[in-house]
Symmetry: C2
Subunit: 197 residues, 2 copies
């Protein structure tokens, strides 16, 4: 039993490092960049509060579990901003390989039964094929949009993002799992984008 | 529907402020004080990882939900360190009244049905009478103990805490919901306390 607790706490103490991984997005008040630990908390709260936006068959408790775990690999890989490298870095093959290796190491700290269970939830989130994972991904995309709206443009200004790029990189993924949320934040974000043509 | 989303996002944006509420406890590496947003994430992860320490009848998904919500009132009240004012400030009547008022305001931002549901979960946590709440409280107490162990003494040094005070203020509450966790961290923390007598 003590060996098992040793492994559980080794993982929990390692997870603490996620609080030192900084994202591109700032807090709503723009005072500083958000870290991936507090971001994960905020997303879990998003899931509880926006559960009525989930499609049929979505289990919110599984969504919450995925969102709690979803960024742990960033302890090794860091956050890859969605609009960086003109949108090409996020989801690149190199990033995916590095994240899988990080998942092996980090979930590997746990007792094997528990590590396999939590790693499977993380992999399900990453694959974005099940209703739970699709909804979780929508929330992960909508929160930075809301923070950019609140902070006055945020990473859209920093990376000179166009409305078309936002639609392609972010909007389509929000709309896939939560179409009304995309309609809502799109309308609220319109004032940050110049009308093209 | 738009009015409902307005209320949901007003709450979620207000909740963002929890990331700026600082606790007495530091990160494991001692580099800075922890904020209550990232602390809430870490506790939700504790619940997923230490679920096998919960007593019979505990629903881990409800525990996770409580832990996500449990510190939101600190947006108005701030964190009241457990060892501050020689242990007398935390849980004082004045603090409880202020926290209830904060809960009214913050959960009151939500649509009424949802606000009532989440406020009830918060109140259940605070009352610490149900198996879910008792286990959630144990996790909330064990995490700072582990951080003090990792950071080399932390708030025990800062507030000159004795082993007896730790047992009374913290240990009894951990042991109530997760006795083996208290045995484990008590043994690991022993080197920070002088032997009395």
């Amino acid at each position: 039993m003590t060996d098992r607790l040793e492994a559980q706490f080794a993982f929990l103490n390692e997870a603490d490092r996620l609080k030192s991984v900084l994202r591109a997005t700032t807090l709503c008040d723009g005072s500083r960049r958000e870290n991936s630990g507090e971001h994960s908390w905020h997303l879990a709260l998003y899931a509880l509060v926006l559960a009525d936006q989930a499609g049929p068959g979505v289990n919110i408790d599984r969504v919450v579990r995925m969102l709690i775990l979803h960024d742990l690999v960033e302890i090794d890989v860091g956050d890859v901003p969605i609009h960086s490298a003109n949108g090409a870095a996020h989801g690149s093959e190199a990033t995916l390989v590095a994240e899988a290796r990080a998942a092996d190491r980090i979930f590997g700290l746990l007792p094997p039964d528990l590590g396999a269970e939590l790693r499977a939830l993380w992999a399900e989130f990453e694959a974005a094929e099940t209703p739970d994972a699709i909804f979780a991904k929508s929330l992960d995309r909508v929160q930075p949009v809301m923070h950019n709206i609140e902070s006055g443009g945020g990473t859209w200004t920093e990376y000179a993002v166009t409305a078309e790029q936002l639609e392609a990189r972010v909007g389509a993924k929000i709309a896939r799992g939560a179409p009304r949320l995309w309609d809502y934040v799109k309308a609220r974000s319109a004032r940050f984008f110049k009308v093209s043509a």
